[in-house]
Structures are given as structure tokens and as C-alpha cells.
């Protein structure tokens, strides 16, 4: 998966590049809108991450010209300006998502993965398996080591989300949004409680542990190495 990052602030750009590279992506980084446009048109990327305020061409201008050239690549905007007009403008021009600075890297990563997954066909799988944990998505039933695990509807949704995005650190805000439709930061520790309860049912009596806490960032499910 190849990503182009256009960010005129060198430090921020370098960190993005490092973070995304370590997350397994191939990342090209440019410092201006003109370079971004040139790269986007001459090379083939799976995703463009564009800062709105850039010297030369701004992010919107780059997007407009990329779309005008008939390229359908997904675009994620980064912006320090949080105006409704800005968002509307970006989305009207055909941006796929936007993030307002400052943002958590885990949040960016989650969105990048969502955008990249959007292109591929949604998995039609009806069962998922991780170590000895099996989840039946149709019957909405989970078993571990052959033992049936009783889950509430929300717990099941949470488990499904974590399993579908195996190996990804999911920030709490994303979990709240996907499972409870809470699209703003709540200053309570509901997610911690939910994870703790899920863990008690999934992990406590079993081994290996599947639910992992990425401290300060979020949660992830995977089979430990």
C-alpha cells in the first residue's frame, strides 16, 4: 500500500512518514503542493494525505487538479482550521475524510486503514477465528476453546470491531463512535469498563490473552507473538 504525505511542516511530515512506514505502508513525503500534485499525477498511490495549508498549491487546489486529471485515489485532509465551511469545501471537492490538528496518530492510522479498506470488497465472511476464539457473525455467538461465551449486544459489536481490525490499535474515540455511535469525546471511562468486561469474558480464563491495551492510545486484538 503506497501513501503520499504532503505536509509543509517538516517535523510533522517526518513523524507521519515514520509512523505510517512502521505501520507497514510505503510512504512518499513531499513538502509543497506543487510537488504533491506532480507525484500524485505521475505515480500511482493508494491514498493521498494532504495538508490544507501548503506553499505553492494548497491542499484543495491539489485535490481539484488530481480529480480533474481523472484520478479516483482516496484523499484524507489534515487541517488546523476547524471551520464548517472548510469541511464542506473539502468534502465537496471530493475529499474522503478530514482530520483536525491536533490529532492522535492512532486516530489517523485508523482512518487511513478505513479508507484503504473501502476500496476492497467488504468481507463476506460469516465466521472469524483468532487462536481458539471463534465468532459466528450470523448467529452473533462467540466460543472460546469450545466453550460458549455469553455476550451482550454491545459486547459482541465491540468484539467484532476488534477482530475485524485485527492487529490495529483502535483509539477509544473510534470505538465509541463505531459501537455506541458517540461521535464526540466523552470524558468518562466507559470504554475502559467495556473492555474490562469483555476481557473478563474472553481472556480471563483463557490463554493466550487476545485483547491488548496500547497505553495512552487505544486497544487491539491479536494473537501475541
Amino acid at each position: 500500500m503506497k501513501i503520499l504525505v504532503a505536509e509543509d511542516e517538516p517535523k510533522a511530515g517526518a513523524y507521519l512518514q515514520q509512523g505510517l512506514t512502521e505501520a507497514g505502508f510505503t510512504v512518499d513525503r513531499v513538502l509543497s503542493g506543487t510537488d504533491a500534485l506532480q507525484h500524485a499525477l505521475s505515480d500511482s498511490y493508494d491514498l493521498l494525505i494532504l495538508d490544507v495549508m501548503m506553499p505553492g498549491l494548497d491542499g484543495w487546489e491539489v485535490l481539484r487538479m488530481v480529480r480533474a486529471a481523472g484520478k479516483d485515489v482516496p484523499v484524507l485532509f489534515l487541517t488546523a482550521r476547524d471551520g464548517v465551511d472548510d469541511r464542506v469545501k473539502g468534502l465537496e471537492l471530493g475529499a474522503d475524510d478530514y482530520l483536525i490538528k491536533p490529532f492522535a496518530f492512532s486516530e489517523l492510522l485508523a482512518r487511513v486503514r478505513t479508507l484503504l479498506r473501502r476500496g476492497t470488497s467488504a468481507s463476506a465472511q460469516t465466521t472469524m477465528k483468532m487462536a481458539d476464539l471463534e465468532v459466528d457473525l450470523l448467529k452473533r455467538r462467540a466460543t472460546r476453546n469450545g466453550k460458549r461465551i455469553d455476550l451482550t449486544a454491545k459486547e459482541f459489536s465491540l468484539l467484532e470491531l476488534l477482530m475485524r481490525r485485527r492487529g490495529e490499535v483502535l483509539p477509544k474515540s473510534l470505538i465509541a463512535s463505531q459501537v455506541w455511535d458517540m461521535n464526540f469525546d466523552s470524558d468518562t471511562n466507559v470504554i475502559e469498563v467495556a473492555i474490562r468486561r469483555l476481557r473478563a469474558k474472553i481472556d480471563d480464563d483463557f490463554s493466550p490473552k487476545l485483547i491488548h491495551t496500547a497505553r495512552g492510545m487505544g486497544y487491539m486484538m491479536d494473537v501475541p507473538d
Binding site: K154, W180, D181, D187, N189, G216
Partner: protein, 464 residues
Amino acid sequence: MLSQSSLVKRLTLMIMFAVIAVLVVAGISFNMLSQHHFRMLDEQALSEKLESTRHILSIQTPVARLEELRPQLRALLGAHQDLTAEILTSDGTVLFSDLKALQIPDRYKRADKEVIWEWQDQSHNFRGVTSQVEIQGDPAPGTIMLMLDITSHVHFFETLHRWFGIGLVISALVSAGLGWLVAKSGLRPVEQITKVATSMSARSLQERIPLEPVPLELQELILSFNGMLARLDDAFVRLSNFSADIAHELRTPVSNLLTHTEVVLTRKRDLDAYEENLYSNLEDLKRMSRIIDDMLFLAKADNGLIIPEQVDIKLEDLVSKLFEYYQLLAEDRGVRLSLHGRGIITGDRLMIDRAVSNILSNAMRYTPEGKEIAVEIQHSADKVTLTIRNGGATIDSQHINKIFDRFYRADPARREGGPNNAGLGLAITRSIVEAHKGKVWCTSSEGMTAFHFVFPANSGEAVG
């Protein structure tokens, strides 16, 4: 422009013009009355003489002896210094003449009926009467002309006019002077107010203009001015506190970041120590990021930049969804959640979500184990109310009006609910509710705290 000049100047001019106007009207009236009076006097004198002459002329019989009448006529008409007379018989013979060398135009010497006229030569003015008169022995009527010298009257009026003009100028000047004094002293309270207002600065907003010596007309102005000062003072204090709060709220995490990072860097450490430092930094940074987000939201709300979407929101559904979210926490803490009633409002779902959620999470934080958080929705024709009640410590009345202020915490040293709670939640709730033209307030008594939302009722459909 008059309207832009000073009030004193304006009042002075107005007083002056008023005085001049009154004097001019009085002068003109006096002039007309005097003229009329003099004319009446003249006419009366002329008609008396006319009657007497007629009498003399009517009692004499023979025409030949008309000459004998002269002494009588002279006695009657010539004795008067100002009186001039001429009597002509029907054939034009002068019966009596006392013209004193005046060249009177002939037109005044003939008349079919009695006429009163005025005439003037180079230096004198006259008022006269010409009439037909029966003379005994004369077959046809003769003519009599009587004329009074009214030059002195005319002189009197000329003098009067001159002095009136001079008087008018003097009165204008005097009234201007007096007007200036009156206006100046009358406006002294305004000057005092101005002085106080001018001396006001951000430092002295607590000062108020005293009501005591101020005239009634200005009290309303002073009251509203003082009211404005009070509001300014309040806003200024809030703003100062707000800035101080921002500085404090951001300074704490920044200073944590600085010290912690510097200390870690003073010598080589193992990886765990670095990791620990980065995690700690991450926490502080998240807190700062969140404060910035919330502050921006509030700043936008203050400037009226929050424009809510307008969709129908079923409050009971919204609260149910929030309950689902908070359910886990409630079970964890042994707090019951309950919901009664329903109602539809128009607004921005995400914002209302956030507003209600802030209150719920607040309630969650303060409700002790075993108590209940009860949400009640009621709707009437023009409004929808949502009340969130929770048991717990009563909020002191001195705090209750301030809990919606930014960064307000009943106990400044206490930071409930961890580092994420910067004390902006309730302020954000209020901003959202106000952007929806609603109201939110809090009541607390006897271990029961209630937050009340009032929204205008959904205007579209009737809520069943």
C-alpha cells in the same frame, strides 16, 4: 452642523431665538395696537370738529352774511395748532381756509361722501377727512376738509421702532449670555457624569456613578449606564479569569512535559524509562489537545459561529442511546438509570447528544452508589423540557450559578474525573443549548441535584 455642536451652544442658541421670537411678536402687537389707538384718537378728533363745523354752518341763514361766520369758524378750527381746515361752498368759493401754506392735492378737496385719508409732504404727515356739508343758503352742498398734523405720531413710531431694534439686539445678546449660563449650569450633572465616565478604565470598572445629585431626567441614563458598567465588569472579570484559567490549564501540562522530559534526558536510562516518559507526555498532550478543542468550540459559540443543523430529534431515543453508552459505567458504580416521557425538538443531533451527555457524565461522576439518575422529558405546546435528576451531595447555592462557567470547579483544588475533565463540559452544554435557543440551569436541594433543559417545541409536527 447644529446637531453636532455642543449641547450648551445649542441650548444657548435656542434660548436666544426663543427670546427674540417672543420679543418680535410682542413688539409687532404693540406697534399695531398703538397705531390703531392713535388712528382712533385722530378720527374721533376730526369727526368732533366736523360735527361742530356742520352745526355752525347749519344755523346761519343768509348767504351774504357767511362772512360773519369766519370768526366763529376760526375760533373753532384755527385755535388748534395741528388742525388745518378749508371749507368751500358749492360754487368753489372759499368760505374758510387755514391751509398754512400747505399745497394739498385737489383730490382731497372734493368728496361725494365722507372719506378719511392720509397724506404726507416733505416733512409732515397728515390725517384728514373730506366731507360734503350743508351750508344754509347754498343750494348745493359745499365741501369741508379737515386735516390733522400727525407728524409727531410718526416720529413717535420711528423712535419706537429704532429703540425696539436696539432693544432686540441687546435682549438677544443678554439672552444668549443668560442662556449660556443656564445651559451650562443645567448641564453640570451631565458634565459630572462625563467626567466619571471618562475616568473609567478597565481597572476601575467597580466604580458607579452616584445617583444622589442627579436630576430625575438623567437617572434612567445613569441607571442604564451603571447597569452597563456592571455587565462590563462582569464580562471583564470573566475574561480575565478565563485567560488566567487557560494559562493555568495549559501551563500545568506544559510544565509537566518540560520537567519530565528534561529530567529523563539528564542521563542515559533504560528503554522502559523512556517509554514511561513518552506515555506520560502522551497523556498530557491529549489533555492539552482536548482543552484546545473545547476552547475553540466555546470561542466559536461566543462569536455566534455555531450553526446547528435543523433536524427532528426524538429526545427519548437520544437519551436511550446515551443510556446504552453509560449503562456499563452505571452498573459498575451501582447507579440506576431511568427514563420517562418523550418529546421531539429540532436541532443538531450531534450537539444535543454532546450537551446531554456532558450532564449525564457529570451526574455519573457525582451520584453515589445505590442512587438513581432519572431523566424526565415533558412536552407542551411551546416547549420541551428535559430534566436530569440525580441523588448526591447538594450543590452549594453560591456555586450553583457558576457551575456553567468555564473551568469552574466548586473546589478549585479538586479535579474530579481525571485529567480529561477540564471543567469545560457544562460550559459547552450551555453554549449548545443557547445555540438552540434553549435554556439550561441547575437546581439542588436536600441531596437531589437537577439539571433542567428547556427547548422550543418542534414547530413542524404536533408531538403526540
